[in-house]
Every structure is written in C-alpha cells, then in structure tokens.
Symmetry: C2
Subunit: 345 residues, 2 copies
C-alpha cells in the first residue's frame, strides 16, 4: 500500500453481465494505476540447458499428437502432457455422470477422471516467447488449438475443452519454454455454466447477445478488422483484457485462417502492451467458448472470447471465501493506459 494514496473515487461494486460475477473496485487501496508494475517479472531465457520442449529433444516428451509443418523442422508441436491431470486410458462408464456415489460422500457426485491433457509447444527455440512471433505464426498456434478441438469433438464423454496459457512460474508454468495447454473435460465446468446462464439471462431480458453489443469507447483498447480488445466492465483483476470477435460466434473453432492471423496480431499487441506497461508480468490467458455437446451449434446468447490476466497479486481469504474479487484499478483507467502505451511491433 502506498503511504499517501492519491485522491480517488469512491469504491463501487459491479456485476458483469457475461460472467455473472461481482467485483469490488476499491481504488483507495492502490497506488495510481500507472504505478502498477510486476514485482516478479519473468526472465524468458532461464533454464534453457535441458529443456524437453526444445527442437532436438522430442524424445524427452510424452507422445506427439501432431506437428506443424509435419517435418523435422517443425514450428509448433501438440503433444500429450507428461503429467496429465486426466487420463486418456480410463474406461469411461457411460451414464455414470449423474449417479450418486455412496462410498464416501453420500449424495456427492463422482465422475471417472477420463480426459485429454495436451501441451502446445508454440515455438521450437527456447528463447522465443509467444509475443515474439509474427501475427501469422501466432495464427498458426490458434489454428492448432482449433484443429485439436475438432479431433476431440469425436469423443463422446468430453463435454468442454479448456484452452489456456500459463506464462511465468507464479502464473503456474512449470517450464519456461513458451507453451499453452488444452484440457478436455468430462464435465461442463462451473464457470462455463455460470457464464452461459448469465449471458442467457441478458439475452432473455434484452433480446441481444451481451458481447455483440457495442462496447463503451471508454473500455476499448484496440480494434482490428475482426476483433476488439477491451478492459471488461467488471474486471476481476487489474489490467485484465478481453479480446472479442466483432461478429457473433459462439464457438472458438469457428475461427478461419484469415481471422486467426487477425487475432494473432491483436493478441501480440495486447501481450506487448501489457508487458511494457506492467514490466513483463507473469500472466494467464484462457479461451472461453461453448460446451461441445450443444445441439444448437450457434447459441444466440453465447459468444466466445479470449481473456488475458496479468498476475499482479495473489488470492487471499476474502476471495476464497466469497468468490468476489477486489480490484484496485477501474477498467476505464486501465483501458486508457493500455490504449496510449506505445510498443514496437
């Protein structure tokens, strides 16, 4: 906490119509928004000596799923996770999903841990970070996510695919070589259900998709032909960013090659701006899309987006207990700073 916080606005609680989450905006607890810097910036070049993700060390990895291009000089690889959170080798008893277990938990539900846990190695060379790649190369990574999701769609027990990236040890990355992860789940996770319920409620009240609505200029950061980036109205975290397709699209895997390059350029720009403004913080990004087994393939109220969260502070008892977050930076202040920061591209 700063010894003399600047004069600030009153605190405010906001509920987001997309996530359904309440957030406390509490500027009095913070330094100025422009003073936010990561205390634990990432050094992208550490631990390169014996990295299993580097080109030439493929034999140290779990089995490969595919590579692009399909020759020894690959630019990206999709492989199995050596320590998967879920197992691809379990027999999945059909229908068990909804049956209660009586062994330990009485009425509590148990589902066998069947699923796929894949890793996307985003570049062959250790020192290259995702934001160092060209828009077209980042587009290739995004298209690899899409291709893997399309393969997984064939497995009936899988209900949702969570694509995410952990950058930096304190954001959960156990290896520093640039990579992201694809975890395919036999359930629709709670945040996804809550988001769909919240967006459905908005749609029922207004007749509109909450992410198709024109966003306030105050929250806009940048825009491209097919995407916009914003600081969301009720951001849970300081300098949280959402990248949203302009046209209504409920599924990430609607992405085509042209839009992938466009998204690659905006993602690169946002990661560079965040890194410049916040001193190369650890960060996560997550793709929020629709569940796989939805019969109506284009839900009128579901609109996919990519969320970027710089890890600037940890989670304490209040957040764990209440599910509310305290954010010291109003999103309109974060958007203004991120709009104006200049980065080399």
């Amino acid at each position: 906490m700063a010894a003399n916080p600047p004069p600030t606005r009153s605190p405010e609680l906001r509920k987001d119509s997309v996530t359904g989450r309440w957030v406390i905006f509490s500027p009095a607890r913070a330094k100025r928004p422009s003073d936010f810097k990561s205390k634990a910036p990432e050094n992208p070049n550490n631990n390169s000596s014996s990295c299993p993700f580097c080109i030439g060390n493929e034999h140290e990895c779990a089995p490969e799923i595919f590579r692009v291009p399909n020759d020894p000089n690959w630019k990206l690889r999709v492989i199995q996770n050596l320590y998967p959170a879920l197992s691809r080798n379990l027999e999945y008893p059909v229908g068990r999903n909804d049956e209660p277990s009586n062994e330990l938990g009485g009425w509590n539900q148990v589902v066998p841990g069947f699923g796929f846990h894949d890793v996307v190695i985003e570049a062959p060379v250790h020192s290259i970070q995702l934001s160092d790649l060209s828009p077209s190369e980042i587009g290739d990574v995004l298209i690899a996510y899409k291709r893997r999701i399309e393969q997984i769609k064939g497995f009936d027990p899988i209900k949702y695919v969570q694509v995410f990236k952990n950058h930096g040890a304190s954001a959960g990355a156990s290896l520093s070589h640039s990579h992201s992860q694809i975890l395919s789940l036999p359930i629709v996770p709670p945040s996804v259900s809550a988001r769909l319920n919240s967006m459905k409620e908005y749609f029922n009240q207004t007749g509109k998709c909450s992410l198709c609505e024109v966003q306030s200029k105050d929250l806009l950061i940048n825009e491209t032909s097919h995407f916009i980036s914003i600081a969301p109205f009720a951001a849970s975290f300081p300098f949280e960013i959402w990248i949203i397709p302009r046209d209504h699209s409920s599924d990430f895997d609607d992405l085509d090659d042209e839009k992938a390059v466009d998204l690659g350029g905006l993602l690169k720009l946002m990661l560079r701006k965040m890194s410049s403004q916040l001193n190369n913080p650890p960060f996560n990004f997550m793709i929020h899309t629709s569940p796989l087994k939805v019969t109506n393939s284009d839900l009128p109220y579901s609109h996919w987006f990519l969320q970027i969260v710089p890890q600037l502070s940890g989670v304490g008892g209040f957040e764990l207990g209440s599910g509310c977050y305290i954010n010291p930076v109003f999103p309109e202040d974060a958007a203004k700073l991120l709009r104006e920061v200049n980065v080399p591209i």
Copy 2:
C-alpha cells in the same frame, strides 16, 4: 513434479454437495501426500520493529471499534482497516441494488461500495500466532467476530459478513502481526449463493442438511464435544480442512461462550497439525455462514462451517478459466495423515 511418481489411483472428478464445485483429483501429478511441504514457510517474527498492531502503537492504527478487555492491557482489539476495500462513509441509495446502469456497461449492475472492513488484532504481542493462544483465548477471538457481526446486523444495506484470516505474505497478509478481517458486504457474494443453492438442492432431494449427515470415518480428522474436523469429500486444495458444528446451526453467531472455547481448541489443534505436517505454510481460513437478511433465521439446509486452506500452490489459467481446481491429494489420504500427526498442545 517428482521424477518417479509412486504408483497411484486413477484420476477422479468429485462434486461437493455443499459448495456445488467440481474438483479434479489427479494423484499422478503429485509426489506422495506425506511429502507435501510448504516451499515458503512463514517466519512469524519478521518485521516487528515498527508494527502498528503491537500494544503501545494504537495511535498508528485506524479508529478502534472495541477492545477486550476494555483497558490499556488489552488482549485483542477490533479496529477499522486503514485501507478499507469498502467505505463506511458513502450514502447508500436505497433500492439502487437492482437497477441497471447505462453509463458504461449497459445492462450491467452497479452498487455503491458501502460497507465495513474491520481488522481483529488477535494478540497484543508481535511474536504470538493464533495457534499459540489457549483454547479460551482463541474462543475470545471467535466471540469478537460474533460481537462485531451482531453490531453490523443493524445496518440495513449489509447483506453478508465475510470473516477471514490471511496468514503469511503469499496468503495475502500485508502485516505479519497475527490478525484476521471482517468484511461486511452490500451483496450476497456468488460463492454464498452457490453454496446455499447446492445445500438446498441436497435438502430437497434427501430431506436432510448435507453437513448434519454423519461424515465418513475416512474423512474425519478429530472431534470435540461440539465440533468435528474433516477433509472435505471434494476438497479444492490439498490438505483443506473443514471444522463443522455437530448440531445443526445456520448462523456462526449462534456460537455461545462454551462452544467458542471448544471450537478454539479444535482450531488450535488443526492449525498445529497443519503447521507440523506441511512445514508452517501460509494459510487462509474463512467462516461460511448464512446471509444476514434471511427471514427464516434457522434455514433447514444452511449449516455454517470454518474452512482452512494451506497455500501450497498458486492458481493458473485452468482454474481461472474453468472454476475447477486440480487437487493432487485425495481427501481420505490427507485426513489419515492429519489424524495421525502428533503435535504438542
């Protein structure tokens, strides 16, 4: 990750009937449960030179609410937080809670940040931790929470009171002098609504309160006259502990003096066991109780409890995106270790 993880059970997903949350149990990602130790143990004696919470430095703190006993030789103090997340000085426009805002977010909801953010200084001396106090002294801290909640009940805009403790810098504590916090909110937070909905569903299906049901012996850690401690069936975190009153009670402030001492003893035992087993980890505890403005004062399905979470690992993109947690330790394994660990009391 261990180089050679021991042979383990298959992964499993469990949904808790109290929180309504899904958790992935994934033992293959972990070392043995008995090998879990904190990498960042807390040194309780740091930074004592100029601590505003130490006896004699009362003038450095925000205004006091009450002290026990009410004389210069206090044993605990309840004070205002110098950097409150919510403001006690805002005028609260009655009825605004449900009105949409059109300035920034269209249909998004905004509530003024009215509320109370209090600190409970648990001991007058810097080096004393909560688990060093006697059961009766910890009971006094618990009764101070109750007394403050009873004061706050008179304020109509307050809908929920979140009591929590952050121990250790990485668990969110900004000062090392032993303290806890009471944050009084003008909303019912999302985790509380989800918990009440889940417990209500269980009640409607079974006619019983999910926490009154006899817990499996495999999950039990210790018990006293009025409380039991368990590793919950679908623990989100390794070595998470719940302390539950034996008799049905929907509100924490039902606690009387006798039960407070009994709970103080069990809380002390759990904190000591956790510290011994896990090498004095940073931790949080949270009291989960009923909202304030419930007309039926004893909800048949709501049962308060105290949750203890050691902070052994951070949160990554998967947890942020999906709201699911990955727990490498099955609760029955954690319960067995915590049952058997011997600690001096």
